[in-house]
């Protein structure tokens, strides 16, 4: 994708996305015709109470789940035309995940966890280590690279997860309740870090039920009962 196209094409474009979970006779409509555009450099908060469908939306955005209907264009490319290996590549290179429960591999050290996405790409060992240390440096964890997740605080673990999300310089970082398991102060630090990354040009998508966190975002999308609330994608138009 050329630089010119990158300027004009939104990173993410959702067109009438629906998701129906079918379990026996019970059908649950988690998403009903969601439209969404994420531009390069955005800091978007997807807000909604639990059960609103925001987790489903997050999973679809992260290519962890296929929508039942609708079109999802990633950098202009409809993802339903991409084969499973292509989706794996997309998840590995274009999307950086930050989860509420950190989702680090407990047996790997911090730097090894950060390296993990690169290990599925053809990146040499030394290069992997160099880039992982660089990413840890960027989240200010340069001192604790050899520790296991169990030896780290929640805030530190989340920073390792953010470093892992950053390592492939993804098109966007998808953070699902990134402060949910953290105390207010640590959560604030994590948010500050995400803002900092966004200021450096990284597109960030936050999924949260916490309005205070949503308030810090440039754009907000309210979701309820699987639908985007009327006029809810608001632009704070700052910066």
């Amino acid at each position: 994708m050329g630089a010119a196209a990158a300027v004009t094409t939104p990173v993410v474009e959702l067109d009438r996305i629906s998701k129906i979970y079918a379990s026996g006779r019970v059908h649950v409509e988690a998403l009903r015709g969601v439209d969404l555009r994420i531009e390069r450099g955005d800091l978007l908060a997807i807000l909604g109470p639990s059960g609103s469908g925001k987790t489903t939306l997050m999973e679809i955005l992260g290519c962890l789940l296929q929508p039942t209907s609708g079109v999802y264009r990633f950098n202009g490319e409809p993802i339903h035309t991409i084969k499973p290996d292509g989706l794996a590549r997309l998840r590995g290179e274009e999307i950086g995940f930050v989860f509420q429960s950190f989702n680090l591999l407990p047996r790997l050290t911090a730097v090894e966890n950060v390296e993990l996405p690169l290990s599925y790409r053809k990146v040499g060992r030394r290069e992997r280590r160099r880039r992982a240390l660089e990413a840890l440096e960027r989240v200010r964890l340069g001192e604790r690279t050899r520790h296991l997740p169990s030896e780290m605080s929640g805030g530190e673990r989340q920073r390792v997860a953010i470093a892992r999300a950053l390592i492939n310089t993804p098109s966007f970082i998808l953070a699902d309740e990134p402060t949910g398991n953290l105390d207010t102060r640590t959560g604030g630090e994590i948010m500050a870090l995400l803002h900092e990354l966004n200021a450096d040009g990284t597109t960030v998508v936050l999924v949260t039920h916490d309005l205070a966190i949503g308030d810090q975002a440039k754009k907000r999308l309210y979701i309820c009962d699987g639908e985007v609330q009327d006029g809810a994608q608001e632009n704070r138009g700052d910066s």
């Binding site: 999973e59 992260g62 962890l64 789940l65 296929q66 499973p84 290996d85 794996a88 590549r89 998840r91 590995g92 290179e93 995940f97 989702n103 680090l104 591999l105 047996r107 790997l108 993990l116 996405p117 290990s119 599925y120 790409r121 892992r164 492939n168």
Partner: protein, 413 residues
């Protein structure tokens, strides 16, 4: 991920799940070792049976004279039957499926050397008995045709007789008394060991003298006749044994003047028949079933542990999928883990199995207990079956777990 990375990751996982790894390893080791041992032991058993029969002679057939058995024969004719040299000659001429036909007479007689006196199974034999009985001379020589012609008083001793009669003083050329007369010891037989079938005492316990010598010295049961107790034949092969029986029957019936249907007129015995009646096939089948069951149990153990491992690590699989692992990357990881376990367990099992076989082979066990025989195909069989089971039980659950949408695996706790 390259192979080195996958291997490192596999070792890391195995190390962190010590108990599970140990249990699986144990299953593998046990399975492989048991299969190696059972199959080898089965082979040993078969060989022992085979050799046991060969010890009494290569496809040897004995014909013992019996008695007239039919109820309607006059009391006068209810006589003991016996063979003459002419009968042996007739069998030699008429039975095409035997390549050696020999007369033999025998009896229990006293044997004396110095202060020692024993009662022994004394056989009157001819030189070709060496071949039919499948024995070898340990020292000295076998009875020669010349000894037979000249009725020489010479004797060849079985290995046990040699020790029990002569002890440490055993030497060739010594004089022993057999049936009351001095005989010169001209040869010692090599030990034969336990014979699975035998006509009287084991060869190791026997004393062999020329047939003519024995016939000349013993009081004949029939006046002025040389009574042959046994006709010894060697069948050309095991396969012609039935034919041999069909050939013998008309000749002997005619010569002994008995009905061809008389089952008691003479008794024909052969290890071939016993061998045919032995449930070797069933034994082999049983060992095979045992081995397969053992392997199966080992396999189920591995399958169970891998299923468990994959189930427990679904979240890990989800995380890996989320950071860009393809389905085959996940499968490769689990494949490597099982491959490591399977290889280590297989090799250890092999070593234990072989060591146990060697240990048994080193024991001074009586020769009625078979020693295991390890053949390369047994090793390959055990390793490949364990390998296939192990690797499949690693791949299949991982393949399935990595096939569902990552969101599902990721949510698993």
């Amino acid at each position: 991920m390259n192979v080195g990375q996958i291997l490192r990751s596999a070792l890391l996982t195995l190390r962190s799940q010590k108990l599970r790894t140990a249990l699986t390893l144990f299953g593998m080791v046990w399975g492989t070792a048991s299969v190696v041992f059972l199959m080898s032991w089965g082979l040993g058993l078969e060989r022992m049976i085979d050799e046991g029969f060969n010890k009494i002679g290569n496809n040897v057939v004995h014909i013992w004279a019996g008695k007239i058995g039919e109820d309607f024969t006059p009391a006068l004719d209810r006589r003991e039957l016996w063979f003459s040299r002419d009968d042996v000659e007739a069998v030699r001429r008429g039975v095409k499926s035997a390549d050696i036909v020999l007369p033999e007479s025998r009896g229990w007689y006293s044997a004396t050397y110095g202060e020692t006196m024993l009662s022994r199974d004394v056989r009157g034999v001819e030189p070709a008995h060496m071949i039919v009985r499948n024995t070898r001379i340990a020292a000295g020589r076998m009875i020669s045709a010349d000894d037979v012609r000249s009725r020489r008083r010479v004797a060849v001793l079985g290995s046990k007789t040699r020790h029990e009669l002569m002890g440490a003083g055993a030497r060739l050329g010594a004089k022993i008394r057999v049936m009351g007369t001095p005989h010169r010891v001209i040869g010692f037989l090599e030990p034969v060991g336990t014979q699975l079938t035998r006509d009287a005492d084991e060869i190791d316990d026997q004393i062999w003298v020329p047939l003519t010598t024995l016939l000349g010295q013993r009081e004949s049961p029939i006046e002025n006749e040389e009574v042959i107790d046994i006709i010894v034949l060697r069948a050309k092969s095991r396969e012609v044994f039935e034919q041999l029986k069909r050939e013998v029957r008309p000749i002997l019936s005619r010569r002994l003047g008995v009905s061809p249907d008389d089952e008691e007129a003479y008794i024909l015995v052969s290890p071939i028949e016993s061998l045919q009646n032995m449930p070797i096939g069933r034994m082999r089948g049983m060992l095979f079933v045992l081995a397969v069951t053992t392997l199966g149990i080992g396999g189920i153990g591995i399958l169970n542990m891998m299923l468990d491992s994959v189930q427990e690590r679904r979240q890990e699989i989800g995380i890996r999928l989320a950071v860009g692992a393809r389905r085959r990357d996940v499968v490769a990881q689990f494949f490597m883990e099982t491959l490591v376990i399977t290889s280590v367990g297989g090799v250890l099992g092999l070593v234990f199995g072989l060591v146990f076989c060697l240990f048994l082979a080193g024991l001074q066990v009586p020769d009625v207990i078979p020693l295991p025989i390890v053949k390369p195909w047994i090793i390959w069989l055990a390793l490949s079956v364990m390998g296939i089971v192990g690797v499949l039980s690693g791949i299949i659950p991982a393949w399935r777990a990595a096939g569902v949408e990552p969101s599902v695996t990721l949510r698993a706790e």
